[in-house]
Amino acid sequence: MHIVDWLIVAAYLVWIVYDGLRRTTGASAVEGYFLANRSLPWWAVGLTVMATQMSAITLVGTTGQGYADGMRFVQFYFGLPLAMIILSVTLVPFFYRAKVYTAYEYLERRFDVRTRTLASLLFLVSRGLQAGVIIAAPAVILSIVLGFDLTLTIVAIGLPTTIYTMFGGVQAVTWTDVKQMVVIVAGMTAVVIALVLGLPDGVGVGDALSVAGITGRLGTIDFRFDLNETYTFWSGLLGGLFLMLGYFGCDQSQVQRYLTAKSVDAGRHSLMMSAFVKIPLQALILLTGILVFAFYLFQTPPLLFNPVHDADVRASARASEYAELDTAFQRVLEARRTAAYEVVTARQAGDPTAVSAARAAFAEQQLDADAIREQAVSLVRKVTGDEAYTDVNYVFPTFVTTQLPIGLVGLIIAAIFAAAMSSIAAELNSLSTATVIDMYRRHICTDATDRHYLRVSKMVTGFWGVFASIVAVYAANLGSLIEVVNRFGSFFYGSLLGVFILAVGTRRATAPGALWGLVGGMVAVTYVASTSSISFLWLNVVGALAVFVVGMAVSLVWPSTK
């Protein structure tokens, strides 16, 4: 990376930390530190809700997903607008009027302290580990693509985020998130423009997309009802609905965002921003990945997008095998490029017969190219011992650092940092809130001054920042752990959602019902996940329904003692 790009990234980091630290004046009491005194405008809250959800791995992984698999991942978000409407009608006013700091605090008012504590503990364990993964995942990719030390990359992401979150509180998180969303959207827009301008003369965007469409990458909606498929219309609409209800309604990292809004309506409007924008934004990010694919139809892509693994295999005992694959790949790429130009020429000539023949020839070359790349990835797995290796996450960063002009590279790398930091900051802030409000102030030190709790809150935020960075160092070297932690989230979202459905959906539910329902939901999810190949999106439905059924059954036979 050029020195100018490094300077842009460094300037971005300094600017964000400075901007976060100047919010410390709004964090002179616990309510200001955690909830900004419930004073923030809806649009800022809406942007921080979106920034929290969009981690760096979402940005990098989604473009890679677009490159390798096309648009169908967008179906994952089909349930989000409905979830936002349901939450605006139900949980948002409940939380806001209860004047709670955490979602789990509300559970004590409705049920008992055991239900609150268990729910909060689930959040702390899951999110505490995930905070490490959210740092580790982009750090691994950036360190490889930029040739930077992994631990230093983790520190470069984790340290500034911890500093401004620790001292600035939720005000710092929110107002830096606003700027980080601007950086992300500006960066992605610049990439799309660069990709369009990077197409060869005589090849329009429509032509390029039409060629990419031959591979099936433009296929967006799959109406098959298959519980084992993650990305279908129905799994996105129904499974995704439950996942989004759980994430935005029961996960403190999101609930805390809209609790900072200055009114119930401002909180609702902030969720409506995501409801309107999220699907088009995700479609744009996936389309960027497809445009990268289209770009490489006319340029030469590397056999592997991970330069470190590429070098490892070239230096291994199986280097000659890899070299043969590379030679065959170059030959197929040349034939694919010729076929792609023929599709464009036939399309522009308006000759259906020629278009059909050219598409068939292109499809054949694409299959050959995919097969060679698959063999290369398989070879990497054997040589490096990294059985979970996938090339997808390296596509976008490698494209950025090798194909974009100086200056723009720095902006995009800054955007990836922004995506990582915005998610981590919200997580640290919410972890600190749940630790202090649900644990420390509730169980350990129940009668101290606001000043004491504020000091403890800052220390706990710092603790979680250090903890997440340490987890990141270990998670970065244990690829399978990342998957385990990510799957862990889908084990408890549905169950937590079930408890909140019991809380606001029926007056018959009792405290024992909620507690045993929560336990029953997690047991049901664990059983279904371990005995079937059902897609993880449906686990959220299973968890919520199991909690509701068990919770109501226990409530009927075991009345509340409260």
């Binding site: 004046t25 006013p93 967006t220």
Partner: protein, 50 residues
């Protein structure tokens, strides 16, 4: 209460700010926009994927 962007107010907001205006028209708009976006995505995939 008017609060400059990025600043916290000195006192806690009163309940008068806790309004509950009708949101039905916005919810309908969300559903209409989602239907339009899904239709556009389907049309997009049909046009370029065919």
């Amino acid at each position: 209460m008017s609060v400059p962007a990025g600043q916290a107010p000195d006192r806690q907001l009163t309940d008068s700010s806790d309004t509950d205006q009708p949101m039905a028209s916005i919810y309908v708009a969300v559903l209409v926009v989602e239907a339009i976006v899904l239709a556009a995505l389907w049309g997009f995939s049909q046009y370029f994927g065919a």
